[in-house]
């Protein structure tokens, strides 16, 4: 599984595909509501001035996630 990384490790400007949401995380439901299901494409757009959170492009919208929450999303960089 080594090409799989947590979303917070995705470099700015890179795209990735969602592989799975870590089980048991508190944010799961909300992430699913935003359409972050398997195979969804995401792009890391921009970090906030202090380095966290990061804004991601998800299904045509821009969503900011804190690194803790992004860490629950396992992606495959593309």
């Amino acid at each position: 599984m080594d090409q799989y990384i947590p979303l917070n490790d995705l470099p700015i400007g890179r795209k990735a595909r969602v592989k799975l949401l870590s089980p048991g995380s508190e944010s799961r439901r909300r992430l699913l509501d935003l359409g972050l299901v398997s195979d969804t494409e995401v792009e890391a757009l921009q970090k906030s001035p202090s380095g966290d959170p990061t804004a991601y492009q998800i299904r045509g919208t821009v969503i900011a996630l804190r690194s803790e929450d992004a860490a629950d999303i396992i992606v495959e960089a593309i």
């Binding site: 949401l21 089980p23 048991g24 995380s25 508190e26 944010s27 799961r28 439901r29 909300r30 992430l31 699913l32 509501d33 935003l34 359409g35 299901v37 398997s38 969804t40 757009l45 921009q46 970090k47 906030s48 001035p49 202090s50 380095g51 966290d52 959170p53 804004a55 998800i58 299904r59 045509g60 919208t61 821009v62 969503i63 900011a64 996630l65 804190r66 803790e68 929450d69």
Partner: protein, 724 residues
Amino acid sequence: MGLTSQSTGAGVLESELKINRLNQSDKLIALAGNPNVGKSTVFNSLTGMNQHTGNWPGKTVTNAQGRYRHKDKDFSLMDLPGTYSLSANSVEEEIARDFICFGNPDATVIVTDATCLERNLFLVLHTLEITDRIVLCVNLLDEAKRKKIHIDLEELSRQLGIPVIGTSARSGKGLDELMDAVYKAAEAAKVPSTDEKKLQEPLKVRYDDEIEQAIAVLEPYVSGILKDHLDSRWVSLKLIDGDDSLLNSLQKYLDFDLLSDPVLTQKLEESKSLLNDAGLDPEQFRDKVAAKIVSYAEKICSKAVTIESNSYHDMDRKIDRILTSKTFGIPIMIGLLGLVFWITITGANYPSQMLASFLFDIQDHLTAFFTQLGTPPWVHGILVLGVYRTLAWVISVMLPPMAIFFPLFTLLEDLGYLPRVAFNLDNFFKKSCAHGKQALTMCMGFGCNAAGIIGCRIINSPRERLIAMITNNFVPCNGRFPTLIAIITMFFAGVFTGPAKSVVSAALLTAVIVLGVIMTLIISKILSKTILKGLPSSFALELPPYRMPQIGKVIVRSVFDRTLFVLGRAVVVAAPVGLVIWLLANIYVGDVSLLTQCAMFLDPFARLIGLDGYILMAFILGFPANEIVVPIIIMSYMAAGSMLEMDSLSQLRELLLSHDWTWLTAVCVMLFSLMHWPCGTTCLTIRKESQSWKWTLAAFLIPTVTGITVCFIVANTARLLGLV
């Protein structure tokens, strides 16, 4: 179970959500949709009302209701808070879901954003599981056109099996068609079978076989209990999902306690074990359900949406790269705040003086009038010197800055800047173990702390929501700004002349606000480590596209809005307080007026924190509304004697100086104004929102104690160092 029409549906909600179908024959229409898609804009255009709108997700957090007439029918329209789904992750989502499920609307309009239809369709598909009576409104078509996104509305309607109307709500395009469609849908709700041109069946999501089987085990029984109160298939799905909040609402509105039904519990076990056998644990189940909805949405969009170029949001990204950049993000933010203050201060100066001289001119006429009438002096005293003069002060000092600040702020809000503020500041909030959206609730607090408190509903975690409510008061509301501005211009910027004066004032005011933000962070942190222990919860913040505000409209509307607000408060609060002050100043016990006695009583303590008895009393009497603190100080100093006539702002400084104000007094007044108890309205709002007197008391005491402590330290350090 005794279901009556009173105990169900809108009957219960009426008390909860204040629905008044003014007329029983009114059609009830719900307006739902994702956050920030223009629901309130649609609502306003249809009802002619002025629900606040703003370019950030979470602007509307309560249900607002309005009416409109179309053809021969009256409609009651509910503007619901924006939600991504109906799984009720937060209070506003719950409100929206409960209304759709239990409010029995005759039709639900789902407003969607044409520029990201796919994500918006999830909610549509979810809602279709609950009800068929849906009209889809694809809004923001103008923006989609600009971004070269084309939507085939007919195809969309064919795919979903529901009426679809395209609108550009801000310019009013498509709203007639929307009203027509709603009219038809509400009619069809009553007599579904006779509608000859019935559309094809509304689309229902079909899940994978193992999930369908699990539902099938449960549904017949659930259907037997629910009759046709709610869609039994959807409730079954939610039961398997373990959605507690829906169960609670079922009990609350329909008086169904599903889980205490032994047969149902057994069936539920059965269907869960079916899923288990198929290798689906509860989370995988949820994943599958979500993935299915997403795949439906993707499929529909692939047929109905054509995106000509993928570069449509490049401009927004460029702006974001500047406004939230590492080097410039925070300086720009502070700079913008300073600029807004500078415009406010510069702009308010002249109108304030005009208003003052105009209003005090009237006072002279009033005095002449009363003298002519020959009324006893106390009548003139109460009405003119008490009530009228306080009103005049409140209006001339408070109105101009508020009427300038508010529209400017609204412009920033409409541009879409506020979510960027939250984005920039989030890390600080995280370090304080607080919620990133707290920055948004603070922004709302600028306008009015009570509004900020209600805005805290966008925060899902109860712990973080309480923190945001307790600390909201560290943001000076519109009622406290003018106090700060007045003191800054009188005491600190006075040595400068010309443009430098207003620049310095704006810079100082900005510094005060930054101090308020820092205090918010410190207190949030302390709360997180003590009485509200916990870790920061997860959240997702949507950064909406930048939008060009309708400048003229915004300015006219919000100047009007603020003026009414200030005048309203002035009449309701300032006038009675003026009366009280006059009475206190003119009722003597022995040689000393009551006013002076109270002030003398408070004086020793007040001096400890750098104020004096009159000032502290003004803050106490200002409890109903912060706007009247400065006017009370003025009134009581004047009543206390040294200066009888004062009818311009320039004399104010002399009045204060003659009561021994120093720069330290000014600093302490500002600090105390920034940090003391919330006003009466805010306290009541906190009580209502937290459902607890205990937290209301905490929200009262925490800023107060903080303010007293800070003022005490500042005053006594300055004195010890011999600075005054």
